[in-house]
Symmetry: C2
Subunit: 148 residues, 2 copies
DNA sequence: TTGAATAATCCACTATGTTGAAATATCTTA
DNA sequence: TAAGATATTTCAACATAGTGGATTATTCAA
Protein backbone atom coordinates (compact mmCIF):
# COMPACT_ATOMS: atom_id res chain seq x y z
CA UNK A 1 0.00 0.00 0.00
CA UNK A 2 2.77 2.33 0.97
CA UNK A 3 4.70 0.94 -1.96
CA UNK A 4 2.06 1.95 -4.45
CA UNK A 5 1.93 5.51 -3.25
CA UNK A 6 5.69 5.74 -3.18
CA UNK A 7 5.93 4.51 -6.73
CA UNK A 8 3.34 7.03 -7.73
CA UNK A 9 5.20 9.82 -5.99
CA UNK A 10 8.42 8.83 -7.66
CA UNK A 11 6.74 8.82 -11.03
CA UNK A 12 5.25 12.26 -10.39
CA UNK A 13 8.60 13.60 -9.21
CA UNK A 14 10.24 12.34 -12.40
CA UNK A 15 7.62 13.96 -14.61
CA UNK A 16 7.80 17.26 -12.73
CA UNK A 17 11.58 17.22 -13.00
CA UNK A 18 11.36 16.72 -16.74
CA UNK A 19 8.87 19.56 -17.00
CA UNK A 20 11.15 21.83 -15.00
CA UNK A 21 14.10 21.01 -17.26
CA UNK A 22 12.03 21.77 -20.35
CA UNK A 23 10.81 25.05 -18.88
CA UNK A 24 14.37 25.96 -17.94
CA UNK A 25 15.56 25.36 -21.50
CA UNK A 26 12.54 27.13 -22.95
CA UNK A 27 11.37 24.01 -24.74
CA UNK A 28 7.95 22.49 -25.27
CA UNK A 29 7.44 18.88 -24.19
CA UNK A 30 7.90 17.60 -27.73
CA UNK A 31 11.00 19.69 -28.36
CA UNK A 32 12.47 18.49 -25.08
CA UNK A 33 11.77 14.90 -25.99
CA UNK A 34 13.36 15.45 -29.39
CA UNK A 35 16.44 16.92 -27.75
CA UNK A 36 16.65 13.83 -25.58
CA UNK A 37 16.51 11.59 -28.62
CA UNK A 38 19.14 13.63 -30.44
CA UNK A 39 21.42 13.69 -27.42
CA UNK A 40 21.44 9.97 -26.83
CA UNK A 41 20.91 8.54 -30.31
CA UNK A 42 23.81 10.66 -31.51
CA UNK A 43 23.57 12.37 -34.91
CA UNK A 44 20.32 11.44 -36.56
CA UNK A 45 18.71 12.17 -39.90
CA UNK A 46 15.63 14.35 -39.87
CA UNK A 47 13.62 11.43 -41.18
CA UNK A 48 14.77 9.11 -38.42
CA UNK A 49 13.86 11.77 -35.89
CA UNK A 50 10.41 12.09 -37.44
CA UNK A 51 9.90 8.34 -37.18
CA UNK A 52 11.08 8.29 -33.59
CA UNK A 53 8.74 11.09 -32.59
CA UNK A 54 5.78 10.02 -34.71
CA UNK A 55 5.64 13.30 -36.59
CA UNK A 56 5.77 14.08 -40.28
CA UNK A 57 8.75 15.54 -42.08
CA UNK A 58 7.63 19.15 -42.19
CA UNK A 59 6.90 19.24 -38.49
CA UNK A 60 10.42 17.98 -37.86
CA UNK A 61 11.88 20.66 -40.11
CA UNK A 62 10.18 23.27 -37.93
CA UNK A 63 11.23 21.47 -34.76
CA UNK A 64 14.89 21.32 -35.77
CA UNK A 65 14.68 25.00 -36.76
CA UNK A 66 13.62 25.80 -33.21
CA UNK A 67 16.30 23.66 -31.59
CA UNK A 68 18.95 25.12 -33.86
CA UNK A 69 17.83 28.68 -33.20
CA UNK A 70 18.01 28.00 -29.46
CA UNK A 71 21.49 26.53 -29.80
CA UNK A 72 20.55 23.01 -28.73
CA UNK A 73 21.23 21.31 -32.04
CA UNK A 74 22.86 21.91 -35.38
CA UNK A 75 22.32 20.57 -38.87
CA UNK A 76 25.10 19.05 -40.95
CA UNK A 77 24.89 17.45 -44.37
CA UNK A 78 25.15 13.67 -44.41
CA UNK A 79 28.32 12.90 -46.34
CA UNK A 80 26.91 9.55 -47.41
CA UNK A 81 23.71 10.94 -48.92
CA UNK A 82 23.48 14.59 -49.75
CA UNK A 83 19.70 14.64 -49.63
CA UNK A 84 19.91 13.92 -45.96
CA UNK A 85 20.53 16.20 -43.05
CA UNK A 86 22.11 14.94 -39.86
CA UNK A 87 20.93 16.59 -36.70
CA UNK A 88 23.72 16.78 -34.13
CA UNK A 89 23.35 17.66 -30.48
CA UNK A 90 25.06 20.97 -29.71
CA UNK A 91 26.24 20.58 -26.14
CA UNK A 92 24.02 23.12 -24.46
CA UNK A 93 25.85 24.16 -21.28
CA UNK A 94 22.54 24.59 -19.45
CA UNK A 95 21.55 21.02 -20.17
CA UNK A 96 24.92 19.70 -19.10
CA UNK A 97 24.72 21.61 -15.84
CA UNK A 98 21.30 20.23 -15.05
CA UNK A 99 22.37 16.65 -15.43
CA UNK A 100 25.73 17.13 -13.78
CA UNK A 101 23.97 18.38 -10.66
CA UNK A 102 21.51 15.52 -10.71
CA UNK A 103 24.19 12.91 -11.26
CA UNK A 104 26.29 14.33 -8.44
CA UNK A 105 23.38 14.17 -5.99
CA UNK A 106 22.36 10.70 -7.04
CA UNK A 107 25.89 9.37 -6.81
CA UNK A 108 26.32 10.82 -3.34
CA UNK A 109 23.04 9.32 -2.29
CA UNK A 110 23.90 5.86 -3.61
CA UNK A 111 27.27 5.79 -1.87
CA UNK A 112 25.75 5.03 1.50
CA UNK A 113 24.42 1.61 0.53
CA UNK A 114 26.53 -1.49 0.97
CA UNK A 115 27.16 -4.01 -1.78
CA UNK A 116 24.13 -6.18 -1.19
CA UNK A 117 21.80 -3.23 -0.87
CA UNK A 118 23.19 -1.69 -4.02
CA UNK A 119 22.68 -4.92 -5.90
CA UNK A 120 19.06 -5.08 -4.78
CA UNK A 121 18.44 -1.48 -5.76
CA UNK A 122 19.94 -1.88 -9.21
CA UNK A 123 17.96 -5.05 -9.74
CA UNK A 124 14.81 -3.24 -8.69
CA UNK A 125 15.47 -0.41 -11.12
CA UNK A 126 16.05 -2.82 -13.97
CA UNK A 127 12.86 -4.68 -13.20
CA UNK A 128 10.87 -1.47 -12.89
CA UNK A 129 12.11 -0.35 -16.28
CA UNK A 130 11.03 -3.69 -17.75
CA UNK A 131 7.58 -3.45 -16.18
CA UNK A 132 7.07 0.11 -17.33
CA UNK A 133 8.14 -0.71 -20.87
CA UNK A 134 5.82 -3.68 -21.00
CA UNK A 135 2.90 -1.65 -19.69
CA UNK A 136 3.66 1.15 -22.13
CA UNK A 137 3.72 -1.33 -25.00
CA UNK A 138 0.45 -2.88 -23.85
CA UNK A 139 -1.22 0.52 -23.65
CA UNK A 140 0.04 1.50 -27.07
CA UNK A 141 -1.07 -1.78 -28.59
CA UNK A 142 -4.49 -1.44 -26.97
CA UNK A 143 -4.87 2.00 -28.48
CA UNK A 144 -3.95 0.79 -31.94
CA UNK A 145 -6.05 -2.35 -31.87
CA UNK A 146 -9.40 -0.91 -33.00
CA UNK A 147 -7.75 0.78 -35.99
CA UNK A 148 -6.90 -1.43 -39.00
CA UNK B 1 28.53 5.03 -14.83
CA UNK B 2 26.09 2.21 -15.22
CA UNK B 3 24.04 3.79 -12.46
CA UNK B 4 23.67 7.05 -14.30
CA UNK B 5 22.47 5.42 -17.48
CA UNK B 6 20.09 3.21 -15.55
CA UNK B 7 18.60 6.20 -13.79
CA UNK B 8 18.24 7.93 -17.07
CA UNK B 9 16.53 4.91 -18.61
CA UNK B 10 14.16 4.67 -15.69
CA UNK B 11 13.28 8.31 -16.03
CA UNK B 12 12.67 7.92 -19.75
CA UNK B 13 10.53 4.83 -19.16
CA UNK B 14 8.43 6.75 -16.65
CA UNK B 15 7.89 9.65 -19.02
CA UNK B 16 7.03 7.35 -21.93
CA UNK B 17 4.58 5.47 -19.73
CA UNK B 18 2.86 8.72 -18.78
CA UNK B 19 2.67 9.72 -22.42
CA UNK B 20 1.16 6.38 -23.33
CA UNK B 21 -1.48 6.73 -20.62
CA UNK B 22 -2.37 10.20 -21.83
CA UNK B 23 -2.59 9.01 -25.43
CA UNK B 24 -4.75 6.09 -24.36
CA UNK B 25 -7.16 8.43 -22.57
CA UNK B 26 -7.10 10.92 -25.43
CA UNK B 27 -5.66 13.66 -23.24
CA UNK B 28 -3.02 16.30 -23.81
CA UNK B 29 -0.12 16.42 -21.37
CA UNK B 30 -1.68 19.30 -19.43
CA UNK B 31 -5.10 17.68 -19.30
CA UNK B 32 -3.52 14.45 -18.10
CA UNK B 33 -1.63 16.29 -15.40
CA UNK B 34 -4.83 18.03 -14.36
CA UNK B 35 -6.62 14.71 -14.14
CA UNK B 36 -3.84 13.45 -11.91
CA UNK B 37 -4.25 16.43 -9.60
CA UNK B 38 -8.02 16.01 -9.50
CA UNK B 39 -7.75 12.30 -8.84
CA UNK B 40 -5.39 12.55 -5.90
CA UNK B 41 -6.27 15.94 -4.39
CA UNK B 42 -9.90 14.83 -4.33
CA UNK B 43 -12.63 17.37 -5.21
CA UNK B 44 -11.04 20.71 -5.94
CA UNK B 45 -12.34 24.16 -6.85
CA UNK B 46 -11.57 25.43 -10.30
CA UNK B 47 -9.48 28.17 -8.77
CA UNK B 48 -7.38 25.75 -6.76
CA UNK B 49 -6.82 23.72 -9.89
CA UNK B 50 -5.73 26.83 -11.75
CA UNK B 51 -3.22 27.65 -9.01
CA UNK B 52 -1.90 24.09 -9.00
CA UNK B 53 -1.41 24.06 -12.76
CA UNK B 54 -0.18 27.62 -13.10
CA UNK B 55 -2.93 28.60 -15.50
CA UNK B 56 -5.52 31.33 -15.37
CA UNK B 57 -9.19 30.81 -14.58
CA UNK B 58 -10.54 30.85 -18.11
CA UNK B 59 -8.06 28.26 -19.28
CA UNK B 60 -9.20 26.01 -16.46
CA UNK B 61 -12.82 26.47 -17.44
CA UNK B 62 -11.96 25.16 -20.89
CA UNK B 63 -9.83 22.36 -19.43
CA UNK B 64 -12.61 21.14 -17.12
CA UNK B 65 -15.02 21.34 -20.06
CA UNK B 66 -12.79 18.92 -21.93
CA UNK B 67 -12.37 16.53 -19.01
CA UNK B 68 -16.10 16.58 -18.33
CA UNK B 69 -16.96 15.98 -21.97
CA UNK B 70 -14.60 12.98 -21.99
CA UNK B 71 -16.15 11.61 -18.80
CA UNK B 72 -13.03 11.97 -16.66
CA UNK B 73 -14.41 14.60 -14.28
CA UNK B 74 -17.64 16.24 -13.27
CA UNK B 75 -18.55 19.63 -11.84
CA UNK B 76 -20.63 20.05 -8.71
CA UNK B 77 -21.59 23.22 -6.90
CA UNK B 78 -19.71 23.87 -3.69
CA UNK B 79 -22.35 23.81 -0.93
CA UNK B 80 -20.22 26.12 1.20
CA UNK B 81 -19.88 28.87 -1.41
CA UNK B 82 -22.20 28.96 -4.35
CA UNK B 83 -19.80 30.96 -6.51
CA UNK B 84 -17.47 28.01 -6.46
CA UNK B 85 -17.44 24.86 -8.52
CA UNK B 86 -15.92 21.66 -7.23
CA UNK B 87 -14.28 19.44 -9.78
CA UNK B 88 -14.66 15.79 -8.85
CA UNK B 89 -12.84 12.87 -10.44
CA UNK B 90 -15.25 10.65 -12.34
CA UNK B 91 -13.78 7.18 -11.97
CA UNK B 92 -12.80 6.54 -15.56
CA UNK B 93 -12.69 2.74 -15.93
CA UNK B 94 -9.84 3.02 -18.43
CA UNK B 95 -7.68 4.89 -15.94
CA UNK B 96 -8.43 2.41 -13.17
CA UNK B 97 -7.48 -0.50 -15.43
CA UNK B 98 -4.18 1.07 -16.35
CA UNK B 99 -3.09 1.52 -12.77
CA UNK B 100 -4.48 -1.78 -11.58
CA UNK B 101 -2.31 -3.56 -14.13
CA UNK B 102 0.75 -1.56 -13.19
CA UNK B 103 0.21 -2.07 -9.46
CA UNK B 104 -0.23 -5.80 -9.94
CA UNK B 105 3.02 -6.12 -11.88
CA UNK B 106 4.96 -3.97 -9.47
CA UNK B 107 3.65 -5.84 -6.45
CA UNK B 108 4.57 -9.17 -8.01
CA UNK B 109 8.01 -7.88 -8.84
CA UNK B 110 8.63 -6.58 -5.31
CA UNK B 111 7.59 -9.83 -3.68
CA UNK B 112 10.85 -11.54 -4.52
CA UNK B 113 13.00 -9.29 -2.34
CA UNK B 114 13.68 -10.18 1.27
CA UNK B 115 13.12 -7.78 4.14
CA UNK B 116 16.51 -6.12 4.09
CA UNK B 117 16.50 -5.69 0.33
CA UNK B 118 13.02 -4.26 0.45
CA UNK B 119 14.06 -1.77 3.10
CA UNK B 120 17.00 -0.64 0.99
CA UNK B 121 14.81 -0.26 -2.09
CA UNK B 122 12.17 1.77 -0.30
CA UNK B 123 14.85 3.97 1.23
CA UNK B 124 16.38 4.48 -2.20
CA UNK B 125 13.03 5.48 -3.66
CA UNK B 126 12.40 7.97 -0.87
CA UNK B 127 15.82 9.50 -1.33
CA UNK B 128 15.43 9.67 -5.08
CA UNK B 129 12.14 11.48 -4.67
CA UNK B 130 13.82 13.96 -2.35
CA UNK B 131 16.70 14.55 -4.76
CA UNK B 132 14.37 15.02 -7.72
CA UNK B 133 12.18 17.45 -5.80
CA UNK B 134 15.18 19.46 -4.70
CA UNK B 135 16.57 19.59 -8.22
CA UNK B 136 13.19 20.57 -9.60
CA UNK B 137 12.91 23.36 -7.06
CA UNK B 138 16.42 24.55 -7.87
CA UNK B 139 15.67 24.60 -11.58
CA UNK B 140 12.43 26.47 -11.07
CA UNK B 141 14.09 29.00 -8.77
CA UNK B 142 16.91 29.50 -11.27
CA UNK B 143 14.40 30.20 -13.98
CA UNK B 144 12.54 32.75 -11.91
CA UNK B 145 15.60 34.52 -10.55
CA UNK B 146 16.24 36.95 -13.45
CA UNK B 147 12.63 38.09 -13.39
CA UNK B 148 11.58 40.60 -10.68
C1' DT C 1 -28.05 46.93 2.97
C1' DT C 2 -25.03 48.81 -0.07
C1' DG C 3 -20.34 48.48 -2.15
C1' DA C 4 -16.22 46.05 -2.83
C1' DA C 5 -14.15 41.64 -3.54
C1' DT C 6 -14.16 37.02 -5.31
C1' DA C 7 -15.32 32.76 -8.42
C1' DA C 8 -16.37 31.09 -12.54
C1' DT C 9 -17.63 31.69 -17.28
C1' DC C 10 -17.87 33.66 -21.98
C1' DC C 11 -15.75 35.77 -25.81
C1' DA C 12 -12.49 37.58 -29.18
C1' DC C 13 -7.80 37.45 -30.10
C1' DT C 14 -3.22 35.45 -30.24
C1' DA C 15 0.53 32.08 -30.16
C1' DT C 16 2.11 27.71 -31.29
C1' DG C 17 2.60 23.60 -33.54
C1' DT C 18 0.84 20.39 -37.03
C1' DT C 19 -0.74 18.85 -41.52
C1' DG C 20 -0.63 18.23 -46.55
C1' DA C 21 0.73 19.60 -51.02
C1' DA C 22 4.14 21.35 -53.97
C1' DA C 23 9.02 22.33 -55.00
C1' DT C 24 13.89 21.09 -55.07
C1' DA C 25 17.80 18.25 -54.78
C1' DT C 26 19.81 13.91 -54.81
C1' DC C 27 20.13 8.98 -55.17
C1' DT C 28 18.99 4.33 -57.31
C1' DT C 29 18.19 1.23 -60.79
C1' DA C 30 16.86 -0.45 -65.12
C1' DT D 1 21.41 8.16 -68.62
C1' DA D 2 16.59 8.55 -67.98
C1' DA D 3 12.70 7.46 -64.82
C1' DG D 4 11.26 6.91 -60.57
C1' DA D 5 11.95 6.97 -55.65
C1' DT D 6 13.47 9.34 -51.55
C1' DA D 7 14.86 13.34 -48.22
C1' DT D 8 14.15 17.74 -46.91
C1' DT D 9 12.20 22.26 -47.13
C1' DT D 10 8.65 25.81 -47.92
C1' DC D 11 4.16 27.57 -47.60
C1' DA D 12 -0.62 28.09 -46.71
C1' DA D 13 -4.28 26.44 -44.12
C1' DC D 14 -5.91 24.51 -39.78
C1' DA D 15 -6.38 23.01 -34.91
C1' DT D 16 -5.63 23.64 -30.22
C1' DA D 17 -4.98 25.77 -26.16
C1' DG D 18 -4.00 29.91 -23.57
C1' DT D 19 -4.59 35.17 -22.49
C1' DG D 20 -7.04 39.29 -20.99
C1' DG D 21 -11.13 41.71 -20.47
C1' DA D 22 -16.06 41.91 -19.74
C1' DT D 23 -20.11 39.63 -17.47
C1' DT D 24 -22.78 37.34 -13.97
C1' DA D 25 -23.54 35.43 -9.54
C1' DT D 26 -22.43 35.25 -4.93
C1' DT D 27 -20.15 36.42 -0.58
C1' DC D 28 -17.96 39.52 2.75
C1' DA D 29 -17.49 43.79 5.30
C1' DA D 30 -18.56 48.45 6.64
Amino acid sequence: MDDTDLGWELSTAVVLFHEAVARRLGLSAVDHKALGVITRRGPLTAGALAAELGMNASAVTALVDRLERAGHARRAPDPADRRRVLVHPAGTPALGDVFAALTREMTAMMSKYDERETAAILDYIRNTIAVLRAQTAALTAAGERPRP
